[in-house]
Symmetry: C2
Subunit: 227 residues, 2 copies
Amino acid sequence: MHLIIANKLYSSWSMRPWLVLRALDFEFTETVIPLRREDTKARISEYSPSGKVPVLLDGDIVVWDSLAIISHLADRFPEKPIWPKDPAARARAKSISAEMHSGFQALRQACPMNLGKRYAPRDLGEGVAADVARIEMIFRDTRAKFGDSGPFLFGAFSAADAMYAPVLSRFETYAIPVKPEARAYMDSVFAHPAFARWRREALSEEWTIPDFELGYEVAADLRAGVA
Amino acid sequence: MHLIIANKLYSSWSMRPWLVLRALDFEFTETVIPLRREDTKARISEYSPSGKVPVLLDGDIVVWDSLAIISHLADRFPEKPIWPKDPAARARAKSISAEMHSGFQALRQACPMNLGKRYAPRDLGEGVAADVARIEMIFRDTRAKFGDSGPFLFGAFSAADAMYAPVLSRFETYAIPVKPEARAYMDSVFAHPAFARWRREALSEEWTIPDFELGYEVAADLRAGVA
């Protein structure tokens, strides 16, 4: 299998299927196509019928979109614990993953993913606050009902954690205050070897895209010396 | 199974899982909760952890979001032809469904679903034009590669058709010009008994929501006498 993604520093959609593949020990190769360069469009179009990344080539099969790639992997590799096995947990995992996939526009717009920065706390507005409150409720409810057997949403790491991982990084990047239980869950995801590897590789990228580097006050630059 | 949805006239998210259930002859009951009324929020919250519809109750299992409900049904009823069987077709069906689920914001924002109106043609802007062009390309490519055996995207009616059905109704409502091949596909969906039934039931609803009734010039009011 071959996964085509964009900048690890910025591409939240790319992170999701990559985390699933890496965390669940799939064998795959990857190509990173940096965004906003002269040849970006042409390079992505070589692989992707939608002109977007991520896209997965699985032999002759082409599948694009983070959630579709995850769903495809679950079809093709039913032995891999991509979704929880218990039907109620599985339904919940799919529900919250789909809610992430189509929702939380305010948060996504105000807080683009940027693993290289820590911004000083600031008021991000009511829309973002409502999104954060809903996400914290999702974590709390899901962990309470289904998370007994481990530190992730459904105990063991699953696709649902991968779907929410970029948002966790935004909480950190934008210094968004969260309750201790959400903080503990975030730390578990950040400590997962797959997330840690993605972050390390993101920080070593040499590309910087001004549009994703907001004019907010910077509290820490984790890429000092890179750009 | 019990599906909870909103106004059939306006709720594009509700239409999708309902069409899958109805077109594939599932047995289910339904509750329609009209939007924007005093008790709307309380009534939806009785059923839905996300506070949104659609939500499906499958015994003890609760699943929300149109795409998650479809994915849940595919898990629980593998004998139903929700997705195409061929792996490449199935991957394509999931890709375009996910693309619909998270995309086409410009079209969705400028053209809310309203099965009761036909508006006069007007310039809907570049964003809408780009969305329409991409959707037409999806129809053309998918039908060419996978649609030989019937009039729908993958020949027989599948979840991918249900995911795109609301957008087809928007093409009609807003008099958006489409190429003849897309028109033929639209007509096939509109003629499907499940879609025809949804439309009939939508037109007989007695609720009208001003926010969804745009100030555009009306070419035809299909609900004359209702509101």
